[in-house]
């Protein structure tokens, strides 16, 4: 219990420091949201000043940070400069859509990577392992944007899949079953792109950890006793490599809100990606700050969960 509490305390401290640092960096970088109005010949400088004052940008940095904290306490996470509505609700809608894409992709990734990685480790150095290893390192070197675009091109040429978005234009949101089918069809391509991007690193880690475990004395002993095949893998190798893999799974949680950003932009998936890219370029500070906090919460939460899981299964950690 004390372990959990102290970890929670640290997590809160991390969140606070991240918010201060992010805010400070945003302050340091040049330019401001209303700059593009200054370029608009139709808008005078007085109006821009009035808009800045309205948005509270004329206050000092400290005042703005304190105000932002107050807004966090109210659950608003600031007011978006571009949309003039609370960041909290803006992010919440988008996060749901992002998770709809990333959670299944992550799950599938692990479902492929675990057995495949273990199998590759056991057949290390054979042709199949070599091919798969080379393949995965090749895939590691592909930018996600390129993967997404290539898949879109495929969709266009074959006409089998919709070329982006989450719903068909004419879908009736009242009919739940149709909507579900529609979303599933639209999600397929971004889902594939995401799996292609996420799989290689996980696969490599699973394989490496499994190789580590295979060479461990316990496994050698088991093998000496004539235990082979999937029984050896499941009963001996997997538990031994569980420790680093659980840590990795904790880190994977962070990818839940960050891995799909560029894919979402290219495939017009209404997740965090398009909002964040737009806000980043427009310097919509509250949205960027809110999104960073969200990413931190997920990261810290994932690590916390991993620690708790380790605490539960690995007695060595409990000291």
């Amino acid at each position: 219990m004390r372990f959990v509490l102290s970890r929670l305390g640290y997590s809160a401290l991390v969140l606070l420091s991240v918010s201060v640092l992010t805010f400070a960096l945003l302050e340091l970088s040049p330019g401001e949201f209303f700059d593009d109005l200054k370029v608009d010949g139709r808008v005078g400088s007085g109006t821009v000043e009035a808009l800045r004052e309205q948005a509270g940008l004329t206050d000092s940095a400290v005042t703005r940070y304190v105000k932002w904290m107050g807004s966090v306490a109210r659950g608003e996470f600031g007011i978006s400069l571009a949309r003039r509505s609370p960041v909290g609700s803006l992010l919440w809608e988008r996060t749901r859509n992002t998770l709809m894409l990333t959670a299944p992709a992550m799950l599938v990734c692990w479902m492929i990577a675990l057995p495949l990685g273990l199998w590759m480790a056991r057949h290390r150095g054979r042709l199949a392992d070599r091919i798969l290893s080379t393949g995965s390192s090749t895939m590691l070197a592909l930018p996600d944007l390129l993967v997404a675009l290539a898949l879109l091109l495929l969709a266009l040429r074959t006409g089998l899949f919709p070329a982006g978005g989450m719903h068909s234009a004419g879908i009736d949101s009242q009919r739940a079953l149709d909507t579900l089918r529609d979303v599933a069809i639209h999600a397929f391509l971004p889902f594939c792109a995401l799996v292609i991007v996420l799989l290689p690193p996980v696969l490599r880690h699973v394989r490496a950890s499994a190789i580590e475990a295979i060479d461990a004395p316990a496994v050698r002993a088991a093998r000496g006793h004539g235990i082979r095949g999937w029984r050896l893998t499941l009963r001996y190798i997997l538990p031994l490599s569980a420790n680093p893999l659980i840590s990795l799974a904790g880190l994977s949680c962070a990818a839940l809100v960050s891995a799909s950003l560029m894919i979402e932009v290219v495939m017009s998936w209404p997740g965090l990606g398009p909002l964040l890219v737009e806000s980043l370029l427009a310097k919509d500070v509250p949205v960027v700050l809110g999104a960073s906090m969200l990413a931190t919460i997920v990261l810290v939460g994932g690590n916390l969960l991993a620690d708790l899981a380790l605490f539960a299964i690995d007695p060595r950690v409990r000291t």
Binding site: L25, L142, L146, A254
Partner: protein, 339 residues
């Protein structure tokens, strides 16, 4: 062992190719030939239009046809491929300059092995020169990340207690902060006149330094477990100084992890530049880098129309695969040593 030789020689070959970019590339990477935008790779012929076989390979000059979207070869003049020709001046390392190129054809023929980009610049030459910038940047950033990461990770793991906690919390923070804005701020503080490549390398180095968190965690884990080993305890018991123990017994265990990370980070930092150049933080025109060239490839019309623009992706995959192979080699060796 045979595999090790292959991997190492392939990597060395790749780097030699990149280092000697000026010599291997037939053209200067920034020279524009405005009559030949997006021209496909020149075809190397042995048999001419009349059906006569030539021992020395040759190319034909090509010219855009009508609307300009495709090119036709002008079969009237042959441009034989010559070796060790003289062309644009280049330098291999500062001080060593030359104008001899491995191969080339006489002007106005063009030997474009990987086609041209939108300005009619030779993509093959740009990939070689760009790889030089990108690999340098990737190595530099990796070095920064690993150096800071190893120092802090070792410190945390070896000292333990409060220091450990502070460093690890800081690592959590560093992993979550959007450093992009730091780069914006740094870029704004730099004078515009700074050499394009120098400015770029500086930004990448900053990116490397703030990327210390992940390697430091891994190093700390290794140090922690190494510290607990029996022989380390014994050495301490014999009164060995902490520094000696660290150097002789603890640090050697981290080499494997550090090498593995290096192999992963180099391609990762090269890829990071794709995003950087999109945000105006990449290398400026007309210089080339793999990242900025990949950025061009990500424009839909380029991706859909000009297959040879994939050349930087292929180069990146080759470099990345080389480094990955090296790390798995290092991994195997580390395990051999450990057992």
């Amino acid at each position: 062992m045979k595999r090790a030789v292959t991997v190492v020689s392939v990597l060395v070959g790749l780097h030699l190719l990149i280092l000697l970019a000026g010599f291997v590339a037939p053209y200067d990477p920034t020279t524009q030939v405005r009559t030949l935008p997006f021209a496909p790779p020149s075809r190397i012929h042995f048999v001419d239009a009349a059906g006569i076989f030539h021992l020395r390979p040759f190319v034909y000059a090509s010219a855009p046809d009508g609307a300009g979207d495709y090119y036709v070869e002008d079969m009237s003049v042959r441009y034989p491929v010559r070796f060790f020709t003289r062309g644009a001046r280049y330098s291999i390392v500062p001080g060593i300059e030359s104008d001899v190129h491995v191969a080339g054809v006489d002007a106005p023929g063009r030997l474009t092995l990987a086609g041209t980009d939108g300005y009619g610049r030779d993509v093959f030459s740009r990939v070689l020169h760009g790889a030089r910038v990108s690999v340098t940047a990737g190595l530099l950033a990796t070095l920064c990340a690993l150096f800071v990461g190893t120092v802090l990770g070792t410190l945390a793991g070896f000292t333990g207690g409060v220091v450990d906690r502070i460093v690890m919390r800081a690592a959590d923070v560093f992993m979550a902060v959007p450093w992009l804005y730091l780069l914006f701020a740094v870029r704004a503080a730099l004078p515009l006149h700074l050499d394009t490549r120098a400015a770029f390398l500086l930004l990448v180095a900053v990116l490397g330094v703030v990327g210390w968190a992940r390697p430091s965690r891994l190093v700390r884990g290794i140090v922690l477990s190494a510290k607990e080993r029996a022989y380390v305890r014994v050495a301490e018991g014999f009164g060995a100084s902490p520094l000696y123990v660290l150097r002789r017994h603890v640090l050697p265990h981290t080499y494997g992890v550090v090498l593995t990370q290096a192999g992963l980070l180099v391609p990762q930092f090269i890829l990071a530049e794709v995003t950087l150049s999109f945000l105006g933080l990449g290398i400026g025109e007309p210089e080339a880098s793999l990242g900025s060239m990949l950025g061009t490839l990500q424009q839909y019309h380029v991706l859909a129309s000009y297959w040879w623009m994939f050349a930087p992706a292929i180069a990146l995959v080759a470099v990345a695969a080389g480094y990955h192979a090296l790390t798995s080699l290092a991994h195997d060796r580390a395990r051999l040593v450990a057992s």
